[in-house]
Structures are given as structure tokens and as C-alpha cells.
Amino acid sequence: MSTVHIHTTVNGDPVDFLSEPHTSLLNVLRDKLDLTGSKEGCGSGDCGACSVMLDGELVCSCLVLAPEAEGRRIETIEGMAQEGQLHPLQQKFLDLGALQCGFCTPGFLVAAKALLERNPDPTEEETRYWLAGNLCRCTGYDKIIRAVMDTAAEMRQERVSA
């Protein structure tokens, strides 16, 4: 096993780490960089609990090899709140109780943010399809969908009044 030196950007900060080539990006984030917000639910790309942005694209970090992160830009749940201010999606998830155990929540938030950046006015159907790769075993999804739809509406309002 040879260790590889990787240089990358995580939530805007340049980051260097050493990794074995078969290690997943998720394990690097959690075990080497202490960014434990991203979770491992399934390890096979079914549950979305490990969702991160890789060069602006939503991916499962459990399905990315650490060396593939070389020179890439990674954004995780830890970068979502800015200067102590929760992202509107995070605040809405709290206000509407769109979580119970919270294990899936980071993945849902990262995925929902990616949706609203592409489409500020998604239909409920579009939202449900977009979030189909994120599994939640507590909420029954309804509160999550409500929270995303409500946040989208509020963010559109703010854009109009801004």
C-alpha cells in the first residue's frame, strides 16, 4: 500500500492530506480532517447521507476515491452556515422539525441547497425526485419536503425585495 499526497480545497480552505488510494473521500473528511458532519449510511450510494459538492456537483463522497479529490473543490455541510449564521434551509429544518435522529440531515441539506441553486422554484415533484437519493427513516419525508419548499419560497421573496 502506497500513501498518496493529496492537495485540495475544502469549504474554501486549502487542505493537504495523506491517504491510501483505496480510501473514500468520506473517510478522509471524517477521519483525517475531523469533518464528521457527512455520514456513512450505506457505503454504496443509496442513502445520500455522505452528500458533498465536488467541483459544484452533488456527489456521494463514499463513492469518490481520495486521490480523485486532487486539485478539486469540495464543499461539505460544515461550510453551509456562514459566519455563525445558519443557511435558510438549516433554519427552516429546525423551525419545522424536519428531522428526528438527524443522521440523514447533513446529506439532505447539502442536496437541497444544490437543488435551490439550480432551480429556485422547484415543484414538489421535482423536489421529491431530486431528493430521492437521500433516505430518511424517521420523518416520512413530508416535513423535509415542506421545509425545502418553504425555504425556496422565502428565498424567492427575499430576492424580489432585495
Binding site: 488510494p21 463513492l63 476515491l65 480523485e68 430521492a132
Partner: protein
């Protein structure tokens, strides 16, 4: 295990040929899962995504070239490709979730050689060709010839899929792909049906190719199902003939996703629906 990201085809071939148990990887959405389960233990990973030819789509000689490592979602950004081959682009974008499709590729879908792969019947219906590079140079084979059986391909040592080539499209042609799954998303096809056809201005089908997934060890071209449609306006008798040909071609397995009888019955139903969609699409703007 070692990781390599060659910058060109020659380097990739040499790595695949020289490293012990080397595996090419594109999106990795199947390979990493199989590595984790212990089913595949690569000695070396050869990541082909840094090779310019494997990434992106382009128009060529009236058709299209799709780099083998192009993510499924990237296909949606090529308007001309979506217009000419809407069924293929849809099939690729039924696979997994957004997270998965941002990484997964139709090249990987083909080389993973699952009988239930969604994009493969659409590729076969489209008469797609595969450009394979290897130690002996490059060769081209039909998409239907690449999978050899569940999880097995006809790629030789040191070979890998570089590009998928879609042929020029005649006017009034289109395609469609449908799959049967018990859910609405994030599932594996119980049956997949791809149809690509051309029609004339009187609505008569002039050419048709029908391909099926999840009803045999590999995705199948059902030549006589396509022929049953040619010369018809997809009337009931032509569709009935097509359905008989489809049913006769199926040799599915019984498993938790569906019984043999159910798969055969659904293959006919979904092929008929896909044929009608392709026919309507081909007639748009007529």
C-alpha cells in the same frame, strides 16, 4: 492497491496491461461498491477521467461521440444530443440518484455488464458502436457485443472503452426507453425496453430496433420485434406481432424483483409503450 490517472489513451493501455489486476474506473459508482463488498480486489485503479477523449459529447459525421467517462447528467446539457436521442438520455438519467448520475457514466453502465443496466437497451436500440482501445490498437464493436454475461465483458487484457458512437439520425426518427420498477425512482429494472425507429411523412414506420434489458443474461436486440413494426403505422396487429417477438426472445430469471412470467408479460407491455412514445416523438414537427 495503487491509483493512476493517465492523461492519454496510450498511457492508460500501458498501465492496464502492466499492472497486476488493473481495473479501469470512470464514475466508480459500481466499482467502488464491488470493492467494498470484496467482490473485486483491484491491484491498481486506472482512472480514465483525465483523458480528454473520454469526457464530454460532440457531434461527429452526422452522429454523436460520447466519451466513455462522461457523467449521465452531462448528457442533459447537450441539446442536440437530447433532441436526436431523447430515449438514450432519459435511460441514462433513470440510473440511481442525482448524486450517482453526477458520477455514473453510460460507458461504465455498459462495462459493468449488469443485465438490468438502464442505458444498455437504449444504446443497443440506437445501434451504438463502442470504440475500444487496447495494446493492439483500437477496434470498434456494437454495444450489444460488449457485455458477455452478468458482470462479464468481451474486453481483453489491457483494453478499455474510450468512446460510444451514435450513428447519423434520419429525419423523423426518435427513440424511447422505459423500465418497470415497483417504485418511482432509485430502483433496478425488472424489465427495460428501448425502441428506436424512423417513420415517413405518412406515418409508416421505415426502420425499427427493439432492445430489452433484465430478461436475459445480457441486454438483447430483438431483430424480429423491430421488423414487425416496419411498414406499419403501429396499428394493433403490428404491435401484437412485435409483442409476440418480444415474449419469444425473453429468457429471464425468477428472483425477488419479478417472476419469469411477470417479466415476460411486462417486457411486451413496456416495449409497446416505448414504441408508441418513440413513434410520436418521431412524428413531432411533421
Amino acid at each position: 492497491m495503487t491509483y493512476h490517472a493517465p492523461a492519454n489513451v496510450e498511457e492508460a493501455i500501458s498501465l492496464l496491461g502492466s499492472q497486476d489486476n488493473a481495473w479501469p474506473v470512470a464514475g466508480g459508482t459500481d466499482l467502488l461498491v464491488q470493492m467494498r463488498s470484496g467482490r473485486i480486489k483491484p491491484g491498481a485503479i486506472v482512472d480514465i477521467k483525465q483523458i480528454a477523449r473520454t469526457m464530454g459529447t460532440s457531434a461527429k459525421d452526422g452522429g454523436f461521440v460520447i466519451g466513455a467517462a462522461t457523467p449521465c447528467t452531462a448528457l442533459l446539457k447537450d441539446d442536440a444530443l437530447c433532441k436526436a436521442w431523447p430515449g438514450l438520455v432519459e435511460a441514462a438519467n433513470l440510473i440511481g440518484s442525482v448524486q450517482v448520475r453526477n458520477r455514473a457514466t453510460i460507458g461504465g453502465n455498459l462495462c459493468n455488464a449488469s443485465p438490468a443496466a438502464d442505458s444498455v437497451p437504449a444504446l443497443i436500440a440506437a445501434d451504438a458502436r463502442c470504440v475500444i482501445a487496447g495494446p493492439q490498437g483500437e477496434r470498434e464493436i456494437a454495444a450489444a457485443e460488449l457485455p458477455a454475461g452478468p458482470g462479464r465483458t468481451n474486453l481483453g487484457k489491457g483494453e478499455f472503452l474510450v468512446e460510444i458512437v451514435l450513428p447519423p439520425r434520419e429525419a423523423m426518427s426518435s427513440d424511447a426507453y422505459l423500465r418497470s420498477i415497483p417504485r418511482t425512482e432509485m430502483d433496478i429494472a425488472v424489465v427495460g425496453a428501448g425502441v428506436s425507429l424512423s417513420r415517413d411523412k405518412d406515418g409508416v414506420c421505415t426502420q425499427a430496433r427493439v432492445a430489452l434489458g433484465a430478461v436475459a443474461p445480457t441486454a438483447l436486440l430483438v431483430a424480429d420485434a423491430g421488423e414487425a413494426l416496419v411498414g406499419s403505422q403501429l396499428d394493433d396487429s403490428a404491435l401484437a406481432k412485435m409483442e409476440e417477438a418480444v415474449k419469444a426472445a425473453c429468457s429471464p430469471i425468477d428472483d425477488k424483483r419479478g417472476t419469469i412470467d411477470y417479466r415476460i408479460a411486462m417486457a411486451a407491455v413496456y416495449t409497446k409503450r416505448a414504441a408508441k412514445i418513440a413513434y410520436d416523438r418521431a412524428g413531432e414537427g411533421a
